[in-house]
Amino acid sequence: MRSAACNAWVNCVTDGEFLFLTGDLGYNALEPLRERLGDRFINAGVAEQNMVSVGAGLAIEGMNVWIYSIAPFCYARPFEQIRNDICQHRLPVKLVGNGGGYGYGAQGASHHALEDYGALLTLPGMRAFVPAFSVDVEEVVDRMHQIDHPGYLRLGRCEQPPDQEVEAFSPWRRLVRGGGISVIVVGPLAGPFWQHMLSMTESTRPDLWVLGELPVTDISNMPPDLLNNIVANGLCVVEEHGLQGSVGQQLAALLMGGGFAPRLFLHCYAKGYPSGTYGSQSFHRRESGLEPGQVMEALGIAP
């Protein structure tokens, strides 16, 4: 998705106010943007706290600022700077975290982002965007470019099934129509679920949705089809994020508050490191029970 994002940023540059800060990351991906922006592309070095506060200062002076790093270095190290300098000032600074969830695989826990959107969404004015596929990124970047408040973009690895067309990005999209429980997947993890369900018949497979913009704060923004099916057949939420601050928690509270009782509720989320060992993104997903086959088994749906 990084290349798609780079192209989208290049297309966003329409005036001298656009400015991009990176924490010494972007090799072999962001060079075209560096070329396009010249002195408005700034490698702020390995100093994330300063980078975020500098971004706030630039935005106070009217600049349109994007800040990029590996996801945990983007939100965890400089969290107080994001909280105080960006969010408390309601500045429209956009943060970009590459490698959401277990995206950096065997690089280890320091490089994983299992609490990014949960932590950031506690801050005033913050919205998080989690594109599922590379083709989503241009629309997401354009939306974020337009908003006048802080935003967080979680980039991951596109796993769109081959030969499958996806409709244009919107917060809620149905990927596969099914006859059973509603499964809502957050971000790129939707790809493997889409692929898995292609081999199932419509009557036996779940109704698969992908969610791409957070938080979900208003039940009226949920598609009526989805809401009705949740009540009739139940809800399963799948996300590569820890339990606290998760989409599963958001949706459970929202549904209960709105008087909607799902017939069944299953929440599949990142469990951390159950075995204490490390491996690929797929390895960690399996350890957390996030692979499509594992979720289908938990739902009692035959492969």
Partner: protein, 239 residues
């Protein structure tokens, strides 16, 4: 203000007040901005803005009160003369760097003055900011340090061996000059700096300046005034 509100941080306000007043009245132009990185000296900033006619006396009377805009540390976004909110140390200087860089990139005039405390230089983000300021040659940034020698729970020397702060700042690319932060004739040198350099002024100050029982006393970092000490302080100021 602090007595009526029953709050402390008086010592660090009094060490910074003279320099803040001088800066705002005799150094800064309309295009300049002031960032108070030592946000616990907000009271001194509010008084300074009152002296410039930006805040009213009624505003000062609301300090720390229910529904006030004048919180104990500078608030975000709504008050002229306070471009950024601060309070957690180590934030003001990096934000000032961003403001200075924006002016430079857009070829806009004006300088960014940033006042830090001395204990604040234990924050790593300040040193990150200096690396950035040097690399981007932010000569429109002027750093001031309120060197009162005391922090929350000890002297800066006892807590972090900070007597060589000036040398460390010079090593990070700043031209430093020591001024007496309470003497007008010394503060006049703020107007004679070369514009091509990145300047840092080490303001030698006295915590609790002007009140005998507060001067250089650690406890006045936090203590509020009771009625007896308030009356005594007023008497000293009026004598």
């Amino acid at each position: 203000m602090h007595y009526e509100a029953g709050v402390g941080h008086i010592g660090g306000n009094l060490s910074a007040l003279d320099a803040m007043l001088y800066l705002h009245h005799y150094v800064m132009s309309a295009e300049d901005q002031f960032v108070l990185s030592k946000g616990h000296a907000a009271g001194a900033l509010y008084v300074t803005l009152w002296s410039r006619g930006i805040l009213q006396e009624s505003d000062l009377c609301s300090f720390h009160d229910e529904g006030t805009l004048l919180s104990g540390h500078p608030p975000p976004g709504r008050l002229e003369g306070i471009p950024v909110a601060t309070g957690s140390l180590g934030h003001g200087l990096p934000m000032a760097c961003g403001m200075a860089l924006a002016r430079k990139l857009k070829s806009q005039p004006g300088q960014i003055f940033c006042l830090c405390s001395d204990g604040e230089w234990q924050e790593g983000s300040n040193w990150e900011a200096l690396i950035f300021a040097r690399h981007h040659n932010l000569s429109n940034l002027v750093v001031l340090v309120d060197v009162n020698g005391l922090q929350g729970f000890g002297s800066t020397q006892a807590v972090a061996s900070m007597k060589d702060l000036g040398k460390h700042l010079e090593a990070f690319g700043l031209r430093t000059r020591e001024l007496d932060g309470h003497v007008e004739a010394s503060l006049e040198q703020l107007n004679t700096r070369s514009v091509e350099d990145r300047w840092c002024y080490l303001l030698q100050t006295v915590k609790g300046k002007g009140i005998s029982f507060m001067e250089n006393r650690l406890e006045w970092h936090y203590l509020p005034l009771d009625e007896v000490s308030y009356r005594q302080a007023l008497a000293e100021l009026n004598s």
